[in-house]
């Protein structure tokens, strides 16, 4: 059930006077801290938030999926007692711990930023979506505790106990991503409370936690994490293959993560389709931006490529009725266009559109690569042997990361100008503090350093000599 503020009839007519517009918008969700403030650096605040989130999410993929890859290798060792599996698992687990630490610190800065940059958002709606974050805190505890026991426990715990101490990590990872993404789903589809005179009341925490937008996001994100981590780890061994290191150690190091990612890639296409249909239902304006659909249309076409300008996509490839079919499974269904909302409530179309198409293109490419690999196993019981396959496999990791970022840009920029969809605009939520550009500059510098250092450390770890096991 949507909150009462979601009711379009409650929106006040746009007026030419900007202060009147602002005060009418403030009525939608009266800020608990006293309403909007001056902030000339809203854009930098958004960029700062996006940079920190976009950085964190890449690392997090490894936090979610790497433990599973490691546990598969260790499980193979427990079954076969082939020391090679154990050696891989041990090696990977050290990289996992480094990435986990970086994930923890980059996540912490996010929790500061949510308050520092968007105090009105937190103050007004914190009690609605905060429950998810509180649960997430417990998931992190469990994850942090068992990651460390697992990585420090090699040789110190019995093999079985060691394997068992690894199992809570992915469970906590799934729970953690459910809770944190629940917040994002809620921002996109705010439910679980009533707005009375602009005040939040009658909060229903479970309804907010399990909002309708969270499910496709969680599943899509989990799978994305497996794509990113699987292809990235496998890419290291694909690179080694191209450099002539084709022994069994490198072959197995390639096969485990790549197989996992290859099994996920085709599924991701279907989940992406589910995501698109949820967006069509919950956020028609975002869908209109994704597709560059200016006017509400019956039997809307799908336009590939091209650039949106002055109400139409120029240079695109039109497929008649395809959008209506994709979004509503009905060739003549009505699809809402951008014209359904006033111009200042539309997201920047080209950013959203390009990001979406990049994601879909990469997703399709990854699924093809996966199909080639799985077909080769099915027909020859072995991986493909063409260098082109391995070159593509090296690229698959970075490409997955690009798709991941593109997907989040679709989701987040597509929600603009709302921080809470149709209830609070980003300019109502932003901090009144000065110095945002300074913070942005510092964080950009720190993250540039951190990126370099992380990559350098991982490369160094990858180059460490093997421990001599066969």
């Amino acid at each position: 059930m949507p909150p009462s503020g979601d009711d379009p009839s409650g929106r006040l007519p746009l007026s030419a006077d900007p202060t009147a517009v602002l005060s009418s918008l403030a009525l939608q969700a009266g800020g608990a801290l006293g309403g909007p403030v001056e902030q000339e650096h809203l854009f930098q605040a958004r960029q700062l938030q996006a940079l920190s989130l976009g950085w964190h999410i890449v690392i997090v993929c490894f936090g979610v999926a790497f433990p599973v890859i490691v546990l598969v290798a260790e499980g193979l060792w427990l079954r076969t007692r082939d020391p090679l599996y154990r050696e891989l698992a041990r090696r990977w687990s050290r990289a996992m711990l480094v990435l986990f630490a970086v994930g923890v610190v980059s996540g912490t800065i996010l929790s500061f930023e949510l308050g520092m940059l968007w105090p009105e958002f937190m103050a007004t709606f914190g009690e609605v979506f905060g429950f998810a974050f509180a649960l997430e805190g417990f998931a992190f505890f469990v994850e942090a505790i068992f990651v460390v026991i697992y990585v420090y426990g090699w040789d110190r715990l019995s093999p079985r106990l060691h394997f068992l101490t690894g199992l809570p990590i992915p469970v906590a990872g799934v729970a953690g991503s459910l809770f944190v993404i629940s917040v994002n789903g809620w921002m996109n589809h705010p439910v679980g409370f009533d707005l009375v005179d602009g005040r939040v009341t009658n909060v229903r925490p479970l309804e907010a936690l399990f909002n309708t937008h969270v499910w496709h996001e969680v599943v899509h994100m989990q799978l994305a994490a497996y794509l990113v981590a699987g292809f990235a780890v496998a890419g290291v061994y694909a690179w080694a293959w191209l450099r002539g290191r084709r022994d069994r150690y490198h072959a197995v190091g390639f096969a485990i993560p790549f197989t996992i990612a290859a099994l996920v890639a085709p599924v991701q296409l279907m989940v992406g389709d589910w995501a698109a249909r949820s967006v069509a239902e919950n956020q028609p304006t975002k869908l209109a931006a994704i597709e560059g659909l200016a006017e509400t249309t019956d039997g809307a076409p799908l336009t590939l490529f091209g650039w949106y300008r002055d109400g139409e996509v120029v240079g695109g490839l039109k497929i008649p009725r395809a959008l209506s079919i994709l979004a509503h499974h009905d060739p003549s269904a009505r699809v809402q266009g951008l014209d359904a909302v006033p111009p200042d409530e539309r997201p920047p179309v080209n950013v959203v559109r390009v990001a979406f198409q990049v994601m879909v293109a990469i997703g399709t490419g990854l699924a093809l690569l996966a199909a080639i690999y799985l077909l080769a196993w099915w027909r020859r019981r072995g991986p493909p042997s063409s260098p082109w396959f391995y070159r593509a496999a090296v690229l698959a990791g970075p490409a997955s990361i690009v798709a991941l970022e593109a997907g989040w840009i679709t989701t987040e920029v597509g929600r603009q100008p709302w921080i809470v969809y149709e209830l609070m605009r980003v300019d109502q939520a932003v901090t009144g503090a000065s110095g945002v550009p300074v913070g942005y500059g510092v964080v950009a510098g720190v993250y540039a350093l951190l990126t370099l250092a992380t990559v350098a450390v991982l490369i160094r770890m990858a180059r460490l000599p093997r421990e001599g096991a066969g």
Binding site: G115, T124, G137, I145, A456
Partner: protein, 345 residues
């Protein structure tokens, strides 16, 4: 006792755990600096690494816990605090990034990178608790008004009270770290290091105690309200803290490191509870009471139930971790002693 009070207690509990656990991890950074070069220094650094490695991430999560419960249960207060105190919180966040990543990279980074990583680790270990403490000081002194960045962005925390609480946060960490490390060194069989950290703990304890006492005078001039609270309602707990502090020193003197660990933690915890108790019922003194700041009842109930269930899982997990750690099963081996003659440079 209302639901809001229970949530406030949850936050103070989290803050206490963060101070006595993660505080010591920050303090260990200071002892890195003091470890010096040569084989003994290397041994001391290895001890610190072995002691911190398995626990610092879990200890750090207490801060996250405090933040999320704060913003869920007291959203308006959180928005006001985070926006007014953006400067110290931002600096603390940057410090957290440097501290955590340099520690994680150290083991894996090359020998050439080590000195730089070490220096950044030490600097961020000292600056982070200072800024976090200064932010707490600003809240305690009632310098955070309700509103979006409504308080003074600098003056609210950069003042005698803020500086005092910041310095105390750093020093208590340094002190706790020395006490804990003495116990860890004995467990690792390194009596030379245990002796060294015992001596350092005694000195750090004396300095911290002196600053805490002298600090009361600072508060009397700068934050009369806070001073009255600590010497009024909070007095029993402040006295308890002093008693625990003296007990720690006695236990250290007698080389009873295990009990000293507990007494030192109790001394720090008692100060925090003394402050919290004396400030009740205010959340932002002079601005907002706990009751007025609280989120709606369903949210509070959800958080408390979640904390009960999640807390049980986390408590069991933490017990498992600390049992492994305190039994020495996750310890790393220390590099050999150079000679038995001079344990400390």
């Amino acid at each position: 006792m209302t639901l809001a009070d229970l949530c406030a207690i949850l936050i103070v509990l989290g803050l206490t755990a963060y101070a006595v656990l993660a505080g010591a991890d920050f303090g260990a950074g200071f002892w890195e600096l003091g470890a010096g070069r040569g084989p003994t220094g290397r041994r001391a650094r290895a001890l610190i690494e072995s002691a911190m490695g398995p626990v610092w991430e879990a200890n750090h999560v207490w801060l996250i816990f405090v933040l999320v419960v704060f913003w869920t249960c007291f959203p308006v207060a959180f928005g006001s605090v985070a926006s007014t105190l953006a400067v110290p919180l931002f600096l603390a966040a940057v410090g957290i990034i440097f501290r955590g990543s340099t520690f994680a990279f150290r083991g894996a980074g090359g020998p050439r990178a080590r000195p730089l990583l070490g220096a950044l680790f030490v600097a961020s270990s000292l600056l982070t608790p200072f800024f976090l403490g200064a932010a707490v000081g600003a809240v305690a002194a009632g310098r955070v008004p309700v509103g979006n960045a409504a308080g003074d962005p600098i003056g609210s925390w950069w003042n005698p009270t803020g500086a005092l609480v910041g310095a105390l946060a750093v020093l208590t960490g340094v002190y706790l770290a020395a006490v804990y490390l003495a116990a860890d060194a004995r467990r690792a069989g390194a009596t030379d290091l245990a002796e060294a950290f015992r001596r350092r703990a005694l000195i750090a304890g004396a300095v911290t105690g002196a600053l805490a006492m002298g600090g009361l005078l600072v508060l009397r001039d700068d934050s009369r309200h806070l001073y009255d609270g600590l010497t009024g309602d909070g007095l029993p707990l402040v006295v308890l803290s002093a008693v625990a502090g003296v007990a720690t020193m006695t236990l250290l003197w007698r080389r009873a490191y295990g009990p000293a660990r507990a007494a030192a933690a109790a001394a720090v915890a008692a100060v925090i509870w003394g402050w919290a108790w004396s400030q009740r019922p205010d959340l932002l003194p002079g601005e907002l009471t706990i009751g007025d700041a609280a989120a709606g009842r369903p949210t509070l109930v959800a958080v408390l139930v979640g904390a009960l269930v999640g807390g049980a899982i986390v408590a069991a997990s933490l017990a498992f971790l600390f049992r492994l750690v305190l039994s020495g099963r996750l310890d790393k081996e220390l590099p050999p002693r150079a000679d038995a003659g001079s344990p400390v440079p």
